[in-house]
């Protein structure tokens, strides 16, 4: 299932920002909401958030760039996240990560040239008793092995 995102639109962005700006400590909530709508946080949104919350543009930029989750540009059509933390390492996760990199032809943290698949690391999905684990576009997969990984990659490439 591919997420469908809206193209960036300043009026729509302003609407999303206004929806949440009354909250205590609203910055992260707004960044999440923008990313959910547009698939990433478009640069023009940063000064708009700053104005809405009466904070400096530098402050919002600082928050935006601190957290791993927030995207500066759209991801590929599918996002495949592989858990790289210890419990998955213990269960053979390193070899599977190398396999995924080889099959997709990109290093972890990158998007394939055809912009179909973004391969990302994730540090723990909390599925440590059914390791190794992965997430394809929000869908969780445990007990990952070569067969399951290959199927996920094939699905993501479609």
């Amino acid at each position: 299932m591919t997420a469908v995102y809206e193209p960036w639109d300043a009026a729509r962005g302003a609407e999303i920002i206004a929806e949440h700006s009354h909250l205590e400590g609203a910055t992260l909530v707004i960044l999440h909401a923008l990313q959910e709508a547009f698939g990433y946080v478009p640069e023009p949104a940063i000064p708009m958030i700053a104005a809405a919350l009466n904070l400096s543009r530098a402050e919002i930029h600082g928050v935006f760039t601190f957290y791993h989750d927030f995207r500066h540009e759209p991801a590929g059509r599918h996002v495949l996240k592989l858990c790289r933390a210890e419990a998955c390492q213990a269960a053979g996760g390193d070899a599977l990560a190398a396999r995924a990199e080889a099959k997709l032809g990109v290093a972890i943290g990158n998007t394939t040239a055809d912009e179909r698949v973004t391969l990302e690391p994730i540090y723990c999905l909390g599925l440590c008793a059914t390791a190794p684990s992965a997430m394809l576009d929000g869908r969780l997969v445990g007990r990952l092995d070569e067969t399951r990984l290959d199927a996920l990659i094939a699905e993501a490439r479609r």
């Binding site: 400590g25 601190f66 933390a85 419990a87 540090y123 059914t130 390791a131």
Partner: protein, 518 residues
């Protein structure tokens, strides 16, 4: 009468096909006109048996697992006829792995429907809050003190003292914050309880609010846990409708409201002051202490900040169980700990038991060793900042002080098992690398030390001046341990130094790790 079937909606069960099993059972039942009612519960925590499906019978629930969608037809036959089936595990409560546990905090997890406050109440839910509302703040605090409960997030600070400090600090506004940023690899107890019994977390936080005079609470959940976010939001909405949250809860003079906030992939936000900064909408930069959050916490107001499991332990304690809770455990570690067995392990899952059980019992006896069948070489206890223990230390009892005495920590109770193919120099390098990726950057020992640590371990692994560089690593670790502001830089030396101390043979150009160490 329709047959009631229980299937987990826990993320761990869904990841191995629980949704597909539920859909297949539903389809087969519809085709046959069989009357079944599917209840989606949390997980019982026996993850090697997930998806584990249960059916209500006259002798109690009977479990089957691990089930796949392809088993639906034969499974439904066996369930409707109460007949034999290759996946039949018997009466759930009698499964030895479950029977051996002492489930106080997780008593309802996997049993009840996490969306139903009626089901929660039918299983002793909200008894703690109802009793707390008849007590004074001091009387509640006395119960929390009596229980001996210590912070389950890892630091082990006495919960009663923390609450008392907030209760005694006067302010126009106070906050209750639940730390659900469970970032440690090998831990999933917070996720499980939020998905399987969210009301127990809400009840614990509400009791905290009543005790210290706070009217607003936040649950900060990591973004990697979308199912837990959904479960908590659903339960909060239900609790509000039922009068358990909002103005004048249960007809009392107390008001308490809750809101879920979602993290954004920063491990350091599990550190309490960094979490508070993040909740305030800022970069998750660690604050220097003092002031303590109990004095100046969220938005500068007195704040109780506790881990999910600490709050989840409270309802049992306030329902008259303070003494009973304290009767479990050893030394200064009272009560039970939900221990998480993970990684390369045969029987992985959640095992709640009194403090005092040894590491060896947990790994070999309960966990059954590795699923690869190879010998256990090392276990990491307490997440990415916890020490690696060799078999020689498997007699260590699960207890805050006993682990500290052996240069380790129990942390959030996660145990990750590695077999004899592990390269401990690689694991030490990962600990430094992870610290470098996740450092908030405020203090130099953590920010720079971790990067220099990665470089130095690389030199060691390539055989460059091994002895001198080992001394550099040790020196770096000392600086990080004593010079860092928080546990990220301060505890990264635990996995690094334990790997060095107990598995030194791996720190040479040609690791001998494949020759079994034991």
């Amino acid at each position: 009468m329709s047959t009631r079937i229980y299937i987990p909606r826990d993320a761990g069960a869904i990841a191995v096909g629980a949704d597909e099993v539920a859909a297949a059972l539903e389809a087969v039942a519809t085709k046959r006109g069989a009357a079944i009612e599917i209840v989606r519960t949390g997980s019982r925590g026996l993850y090697w048996l997930e998806p584990m499906v249960e059916v209500a019978t006259a002798k109690g629930r009977v479990a089957f697992g691990p089930v796949t969608a392809a088993d639906a037809t034969s499974l439904l036959d066996a369930m409707l006829a109460d007949a034999a089936h290759p996946l039949r595990l018997g009466v759930t409560e009698e499964i030895p792995w479950l029977k051996r546990q002492t489930r106080l905090t997780f008593a309802r997890c996997g049993v009840i429907d996490p969306r139903s406050v009626e089901d929660y109440r039918a299983h002793d839910g909200y008894k703690g809050l109802e009793r707390a509302l008849t007590l004074t703040s001091d009387e509640i605090l006395a119960d929390v003190m009596t229980s001996g409960l210590r912070g389950r997030g890892g630091a082990g600070f006495p919960t009663g003292i923390k609450w008392k400090t907030v209760a005694q600090t006067s302010a126009d506004r106070k906050y209750i914050v639940c730390n659900a940023d469970e970032g440690d690899s090998g831990t999933f107890a917070d996720r499980m309880i939020m998905e399987g019994d969210p009301f127990v977390v809400i009840e614990g936080m509400t009791i905290a609010g009543v005790t210290v005079g706070a009217t607003k609470g936040y649950i900060y959940i990591r973004s990697e846990y979308p199912h837990a976010v959904e479960a908590m939001n659903a339960a909060i909405a239900v609790a509000k409708r039922a009068g358990y949250l909002g103005p004048r809860i249960c007809g009392s003079n107390h008001s308490f409201d809750l809101e879920v906030r979602v993290g954004a992939g920063a491990y350091v936000c599990g550190e309490e002051t960094s979490l508070l900064e993040s909740l305030e909408g800022r970069r998750g930069i660690v604050r220097a202490k003092p002031p303590l959050p109990a004095h100046k916490g969220l938005f500068g107001k007195p704040t109780v900040i506790n881990n999910v499991l600490s709050f989840a332990a409270i309802p049992f304690i306030l329902a008259g169980g303070a003494k009973a809770y304290a009767d479990f455990g050893m030394g200064r570690s009272r009560g039970t700990m939900p221990i998480q067995l993970a990684g390369n392990i045969k029987y992985g899952g959640l095992f709640e038991i009194a403090f005092g059980i040894t590491l060896g019992e947990l790994v070999d006896d309960i966990g059954g060793g590795t699923f690869t069948g190879r010998p256990v070489r090392a276990v990491q206890v307490g997440g990415p900042l916890g020490a690696y223990f060799p078999r020689a230390l498997f007699d260590t009892p699960f207890d805050y002080e006993a682990f500290a005495a052996r240069d380790g920590l129990i942390g959030h109770g996660g145990i990750v098992v590695f077999d004899d193919t592990v390269d401990m120099a690689k694991q030490a390098r990962f600990a430094m690398e992870f610290c470098a990726i996740e450092s908030c950057g405020k203090c130099t020992p953590c920010r720079i030390g971790s990067t220099r640590g990665v470089e130095t371990i690389d030199k060691i692994r390539s055989g460059e001046r091994v002895e001198q560089n080992l001394a550099v690593v040790e020196d770096l670790c000392n600086t990080m341990k004593f010079g860092s502001l928080c546990a990220l830089g301060g505890f990264t030396p635990y996995p690094v130094m334990s790997a060095l101390r107990h598995f030194k043979e791996d720190f040479s150009p040609a690791p001998e790790s494949l020759q079994a160490a034991e």
